[in-house]
């Protein structure tokens, strides 16, 4: 068994840093998808015609209740075989991760919408405000305040699931550690350790910031 080697740490670190940047890039793209698509899903489930609500609700229930790994492998294989083999693993992986987490963020948004007092909707109706103003000026500001901490927590959870994408060849940190080990027959433990530390270093401050945001919003005017 190979022993821990500080020189290997120094050697593997640049590759791990490269992988970490990829993790951040995936998180940014998938996070945007999760934040925006989740919101659209929650709104569609609230105001869409009955058939839209049924379809959207069914599809996202399905996504929520099947493993991310299966979804990643399925979509990657299906797009490679039947749609376009040129699509990058980064693009497909980010999209699958974003859609998967949209199924969770939509639930947080849905809870936020349901928490808006019925009197707000009634006042908006009594004033005959157009739908886009009801959502844009009244519901969304209150909804985002109520849901932002929960959505931030989903994004942190998603960030920690980015290594799942190594199965389709996204060169994030786990893939980089394995690649290094494949080339040098060494360094996997050091690589995984660096990956863990980088994940912790990135997610802990974000979690603290999310908690502070939650506390600050709790003290705000609404």
């Amino acid at each position: 068994m190979n022993e821990w080697n500080n020189d290997t740490v120094v050697e593997v670190f640049p590759a791990m840093w490269e992988g970490f940047i990829v993790v951040l890039q995936v998180t940014l793209v998938a996070g945007l998808i999760a934040v925006l698509l989740g919101l659209l899903v929650a709104i569609a489930e609230r105001i869409g015609p009955p058939w839209v609500r049924r379809v959207v609700s069914g599809v996202f229930q399905f996504i929520r209740n099947t493993p991310l790994l299966v979804q990643v492998l399925f979509v990657w294989t299906a797009t490679s075989l039947y749609i376009n083999p040129e699509w990058s693993a980064f693009a497909v992986g980010s999209a699958v991760l974003g859609v998967h987490y949209a199924s969770y963020t939509s639930e947080s948004y849905r809870a936020g919408i349901e928490a808006i007092p019925v009197g707000q909707w009634e006042a908006a109706t009594a004033l005959s405000l157009p739908t886009h103003r009801v959502w844009g000026a009244i519901v969304l500001p209150q909804l985002l305040r109520r849901s932002s901490a929960a959505v931030a927590n989903w994004i942190i959870a998603m960030f920690k699931e980015v290594p799942t994408l190594f199965v389709i060849g996204v060169l994030e940190m786990i893939a980089q550690a394995q690649k290094y080990q494949g080339q040098h027959y060494d360094g996997a433990v050091e690589g995984y350790t660096i990956a863990g530390i980088l994940f912790l270093a990135a997610s802990y401050p974000v979690a603290v910031a999310a908690r502070r945001l939650e506390n600050r919003l709790a003290k705000s005017h609404y």
Partner: protein, 283 residues
């Protein structure tokens, strides 16, 4: 389409406003929630400029009447509205229904959006928008519903906030105001829409007793200085007596008794009204 109910059929005995036709007409309106019938073939008229107070025990259907007028609830439809009624009319035009060919059909959202512009409502729990400052609470619908310019809406809002004694609070959020102040903003917000009909739904019930007088004072001013038609649901009998032209006593979705405030409060004919007033005045 002409309102199919003649005035003679449904005009109440009490002294009424000018004979230009009713502003509001409930024509045999039914409203049920599941098996519970809240309004049972209810008919009454309200003339322009009239102030009508609805009294009665909880669950008698008073608030439902206001909510139907504000289109927050919808009437339980009848098979043939032209023959069986079940229609609410405002200014001689159907509110709960719309004309399709020669028939009346249940109104769609587009019709309701247009029809409800004539009506304003002040709620028991204020329902101000907590994410907007006081001024924007009063300008938002002026700009986006009535299409007024921002300057025009602001001028109107400042004038009304001055009327309700809150010109110093325009930049505050609702959460920074007392309940009475919030309710006065809500009154200003409703008046800013220049409604023909103002619905007041237990507007002092959620307030601490010492704040009630301010809100009622503002509403007395509004009643004295405008000709807005008002439908008022309240347990403040002194206010009802001062402000209204007519009082309607409800029980189980029907009008038990109606008349001028002095008649109803001083000399109620029906035992149900007597019991109710005794209970309310003893509180």
């Amino acid at each position: 389409m002409q309102n199919p109910i003649t005035d003679a059929e449904h005009r109440p005995a009490a002294e009424r406003g000018p004979a230009t036709g009713p502003l509001v007409r409930f024509d045999r309106v039914n409203k049920s929630f599941g098996d519970l019938t809240v309004l049972d073939r209810l008919s009454f008229d309200v003339d322009p400029g009239e102030r009508v107070t609805l009294i009665g025990p909880s669950g008698s259907g008073k608030t439902t009447i206001l909510r139907l007028l504000m289109t927050l609830e919808h009437v339980t439809p009848t098979k043939d509205p032209a023959a069986e009624g079940g229609v609410i009319w405002v200014e001689g035009k159907p509110l709960s229904h719309m004309e399709k060919g020669n028939r009346l059909v249940v109104a769609n959202e587009r019709h309701l959006r247009q029809a409800r512009k004539k009506i304003g409502m002040v709620f028991q729990s204020f329902n101000l928008f907590p994410n907007m400052r006081v001024l924007r609470n009063v300008t938002e619908a002026q700009v986006h519903t009535l299409g007024r310019s921002k300057d025009e809406a602001e001028a109107k809002a400042r004038e009304l906030l001055d009327l309700v004694g809150l010109s110093a609070k325009v930049d505050n959020y609702p959460s920074q105001l007392s309940g009475g102040q919030q309710q006065r903003v809500a009154i200003a917000r409703a008046l800013a829409m220049d409604p023909d009909i103002l619905l007041l739904d237990e507007v002092t019930s959620a307030l601490d007793p010492e704040l009630v007088a301010d809100v009622l004072g503002v509403l007395r001013d509004v009643a004295d200085t405008t000709s807005i038609t008002m439908l008022i649901v309240t347990h403040e009998m002194g206010f009802a007596r001062d402000v209204s032209n007519r009082v309607m006593m409800f029980d189980r979705g029907v009008i038990v008794e109606e008349g001028a405030p002095d008649e109803i409060f001083s000399d109620p004919r029906e035992a149900r009204t007597q019991d109710f007033l005794r209970a309310v005045l003893a509180e």
